[in-house]
């Protein structure tokens, strides 16, 4: 195979766009870890169910994927709020290990419920076939829209967290939960908002994933591990860094796939994260935590 600049550019672009979707998944995971101190592996299960939901809506001719997404996002926001009130209400008080077990349990339930109802088969939506070319790089329209939406959501979330009072309050309670409580912030309510936002992000990620990739029930487990890996790379509770780490992982994956094979790329990613965990558990982008 020839590795012309345009082929490499093609892979890097596609990788970055895919990576930005991973980033969107990881941001939700990271947000809820930071604010509510919940390690929510089930996050990927929500993404999976949104994918199937959109699929059903499209297959039954009810709506275009993007329209379905527009419904799914607010719906998931509300569901997330409810989940934090019920299923997750006691989770943040548990030890790390218990949380991991609990949310992994929920992930298994969500993943295999999907398999039970939709079967183990691989699904995908037909693409529009439209593509854009510039400088020898050909990109599917869906991929570009997906990347743009993911990037947009990252910027919007970033703006929300850094510009609005509520966003700052969410960051504050992630930064110092006890301090936030003592100065009168309602940490429980902020956790609910964070969970709701995290669900909304999952809905967005699910919608755009449907439009660009194939999927199957076990995708839930894969995404969970992948999101964890990305979030570790970004430094666990740093939301925007998670997005950047997602893009990096996407490019890394694409390049590895080009040079070797998808599974070698994945092996390299896991080996890299393994090294990161051992050497810099605080993530790539942060100075050693002071405590």
């Amino acid at each position: 195979m020839e590795f012309s600049p345009s082929v490499i550019g093609q892979m890097l672009f596609t990788g970055a766009l895919m990576g930005s979707i991973y980033g969107a998944v990881a941001m939700g995971f990271s947000l809820i870890f930071g604010v509510a101190k919940i390690i929510n592996f089930a996050h990927a299960g929500v993404v999976l169910w949104v994918m199937y939901g959109v699929l059903v809506a499209v297959r039954s001719g009810v709506a275009h994927p993007y329209v379905a997404g527009l419904v799914a996002i607010p719906l998931c926001y509300v569901i997330g709020h409810g989940v934090q009130r019920t299923l997750m209400a006691r989770v943040s008080a548990m030890s790390d290990d218990m949380q991991i077990i609990y949310t992994f349990g929920l992930l298994l339930v969500l993943t295999y419920m999907a398999q039970f109802f939709f079967g183990p088969d691989v699904h995908f939506l037909p693409s529009s076939g439209l593509a854009v070319e510039f400088g020898g790089v050909v990109l599917q329209v869906e991929t570009i829209i997906a990347g743009a939406l993911a990037l947009g959501s990252a910027l919007a979330l970033h703006a929300f967290l850094s510009r609005t009072w509520l966003g700052k309050a969410i960051r504050a309670s992630a930064d110092n939960r006890r301090g936030a409580t003592l100065m009168g912030l309602d940490v429980v309510r902020l956790s609910r908002v964070a969970m709701a936002l995290s669900f909304a992000l999952a809905a967005l990620a699910g919608t755009i994933l449907v439009t660009v990739t194939t999927f199957y029930p076990l995708r839930g487990l894969e995404l969970a591990v992948l999101a964890f890996v990305i979030v570790v790379l970004g430094g666990m509770d740093n939301v925007f860094a998670s997005f950047v780490a997602g893009v990096l992982i996407g490019m890394f994956e694409a390049l590895g796939t080009l040079l070797f094979s998808p599974s070698i790329a994945h092996m390299a990613i896991y080996a890299m994260i393994f090294a990161v965990l051992l050497v810099r558990p605080q993530g790539l982008f942060r100075r050693r935590a002071t405590k």
């Binding site: 790390d96 992994f104 349990g105 298994l108 339930v109 993943t111 591990v225 570790v232 393994f274 558990p281």
Partner: protein
């Protein structure tokens, strides 16, 4: 209790041995799987004993399976040999990974995440290795084994690990493992080499799981990336162990048996409704997930622990008319080695510990060191400085403590008292200067080494090993100087007698009141046979009368030849107890001397009350 367990193991073995005579092929196959997974969960449990949760034991399982299969296919190697080589490889891998992980202090999500990622990396490595058959895996088609061999092997391994766990739980290593699980810092302070203990448990666990992996490969006649390195195997072991009860001997196999039972039940139901294998599998996994959640919420200790608690309560309820006090009375009498220290009142038995502790010649103690050091140089703190992020927590602190002395270390909040404590006990070594005990440098030693040199400490916030009994708590301290359980138990009992906790020795530490917990901290440190005890705010949170009881106890123990360094805010107690007092402020020694001198020292008063008050004459009070 013990013999009952032994008996049930024998009964189980006999029953298991009879199955081949009447069981169908299906039964044998199912039982083989249950026993094999029971064995695997028990092996996983060895690691869980230290409180570490692994999401990636599939890594070791797969290494074992793949090694055995590959060696058999390429070299025709004996499968037993293959399993052992696999175990060795897995242990090597575990050593490298966990050594680094423990060194860098990974905990919680980072540790679990590391194990998870390890298994995933290996899974993709297997997929990418042509010699290992890529995603197809390796098939052991030509394999012919005598009937019932695998069944027999799984039964044997299961019985051996369960018996091994039972033995381990009562061994010095087992107690240390449990101490690490309950509270790593406290364990370290009581002389447990926590790093080595954790590594031992993980290596043992990894090696056994690898053997199980090899057996599984032979049972299924293939190895394959997803089933050998996949997440679901790790989750299976985790769920079985948690369901049955982590840290118990019987929990893991019982949990696995329940799981397999449910799984088969669903399979039958699924067949009834013609769901197809994919649907049935999905339902089984949904059930697993739901069980994981349920166990966390409703049954965090597991079935076995829960059942045991009911059993104890039921017995207590039925035995109530007799002795209302301590339900453990009946068990106590059966405990070996107790009679020696059991006599009724504390007064009569206090001779036992004092004889041990007061033995004046240091050479007579199990740990000799610096026997010739002059009496004046006992604990010496020489020019110790310590900075945190540019802030001086301690600067040029020097003081010494004489043999048999009670030295008070006081100062306002943030003066550096706790930092000083940590510098002595090895948690944060001094950056400049040094700490010497009996002429020997303590600086640079780990906390467990400091403890083994005769300097014990208590914690400001009491940190009992909550899941263990009072006696076991003290026992862990005693194990720092006695290799044999019987000896250690005697020393532990003596320490409990000394602090009047003897009667509560079989209660769980979690059930004690705050005062008793403080006493237990005391007893634990006494059990290490200390020559010097560092007491960190032992009075905090106690009422005046409780404080004075503790103070009496300190004086009593001092009379047996133990020295004390007190960090304390309860000023009345410090003034009463201390022979001398050292005052710290902003990381510097601002005064030292007799309590009466300190109370009049204008510098000290101005630190506490401000300059204007320091100038008004104190004697007016008299």
């Amino acid at each position: 209790m013990k013999s009952a367990l032994g008996l049930s193991i024998v009964v189980f073995s006999l029953a298991a041995a009879s199955v081949p005579f009447w069981g169908s092929g299906y039964t044998i196959n199912l039982l083989t799987q249950i026993f094999l997974f029971g064995f695997l969960a028990s092996a996983w449990n060895f690691m869980a004993l230290t409180g570490l949760v692994s999401l990636g034991h599939a890594a070791f399982f797969g290494v074992g399976g793949y090694t055995a299969a590959w060696l058999y296919l390429t070299w025709g190697a004996n499968l037993v040999l293959g399993a052992l080589v696999g175990a060795a490889l897995a242990m090597f891998l575990a050593f490298v990974v966990y050594w680094t992980a423990f060194r860098s202090g990974l905990r919680g999500i980072y540790f679990s995440g590391l194990t998870l990622v390890l298994a995933e990396a290996l899974r993709f490595a297997a997929i990418n290795t042509p010699a290992l058959g890529r995603s197809q895996g390796l098939e052991l088609v030509s394999l012919h084994l005598p009937p019932f061999l695998l069944y027999g092997l799984s039964v044997t391994l299961l019985v051996l690990t369960v018996a091994g766990t039972l033995w381990l739980l009562r061994s010095p290593l087992g107690y240390r493992l449990q101490a690490v699980r309950e509270n790593e810092d406290a364990a370290e302070a009581l002389g447990v080499h926590t790093f080595r203990v954790k590594l031992a448990a993980t290596l043992l666990s990894a090696g056994l799981v690898a053997i199980g992996g090899a057996l599984h490969a032979v049972l299924l006649r293939f190895v394959e990336p997803e089933s050998d390195f996949g997440l679901s195997l790790s989750l299976n072991l985790l769920l079985g162990t948690f369901l049955g009860g982590t840290g118990t001997a019987l929990g893991p196999p019982i949990g696995i048996a329940v799981l397999f039972g449910l799984r088969e039940g669903i399979a039958r139901l699924g067949e009834l409704f013609a769901l197809g294998s994919s649907g049935i599998y999905a339902l089984q996994q949904v059930l697993y997930g739901a069980m994981l959640m349920l166990v966390v919420v409703a049954l965090p200790d597991g079935l076995v622990t829960r059942a045991r608690r009911w059993w104890i309560e039921w017995r207590r309820a039925s035995a109530r008319p007799g002795s209302a006090g301590f339900q453990a009375g009946a068990q106590v009498a059966s405990m070996a080695g107790l009679e020696a220290a059991a006599p009724g009142t504390a007064r009569a038995t206090s001779a036992v510990p004092s004889a041990q502790l007061a033995s004046d010649s240091p050479a007579a103690r199990p740990r000799a060191g610096g026997a010739s050091a002059p009496a004046s140089a006992y604990l010496e703190v020489i020019d110790v400085s310590r900075h945190f992020r540019g802030l001086a927590a301690l600067s040029n602190v020097s003081f010494d403590l004489r043999r048999g002395e009670i030295l008070g270390l006081i100062g306002p909040n943030g003066a550096g008292k706790t930092t000083m404590f940590n510098a002595i006990s090895g948690i944060f070594p001094a950056q400049i200067g040094e700490v010497r005990f009996k002429g020997e440098r303590l600086s640079g030693l780990a906390p467990h080494q400091v403890c083994q040199r005769g300097v014990a400490r208590t914690f400001q916030i009491v940190q009992p090993f909550a899941g263990l009994t009072v006696l076991e708590n003290a026992l862990i301290g005693a194990l720092s100087r006695y290799a044999r359980i019987a000896e250690a138990r005697e020393a532990a009992l003596a320490a409990l007698v000394q602090v009047d906790l003897h009667a509560k020795r079989d209660l769980p530490a979690a059930s004690l009141t705050l005062q008793d917990r403080k006493m237990l901290e005391f007893a634990r440190s006494l059990a290490t046979g200390p020559e010097l005890i560092l007491l960190d705010e032992v009075m905090a949170g106690l009422t005046a009368s409780e404080q004075s009881q503790i103070a009496d106890k300190i004086l009593e123990i001092r009379d047996t030849g133990v020295s004390f360094l007190l960090v304390e805010h309860a000023m009345r107690a410090v003034m009463r107890l201390s022979d001398r007092i050292v005052v710290l402020d902003h990381g510097q020694v601002i005064a030292s001397g007799l309590p009466s001198e300190i109370a009049r020292d204008p510098g000290v008063i101005s630190v506490y009350l401000g300059r204007s008050l320091a100038q008004t004459p104190v004697d007016r009070a008299a």
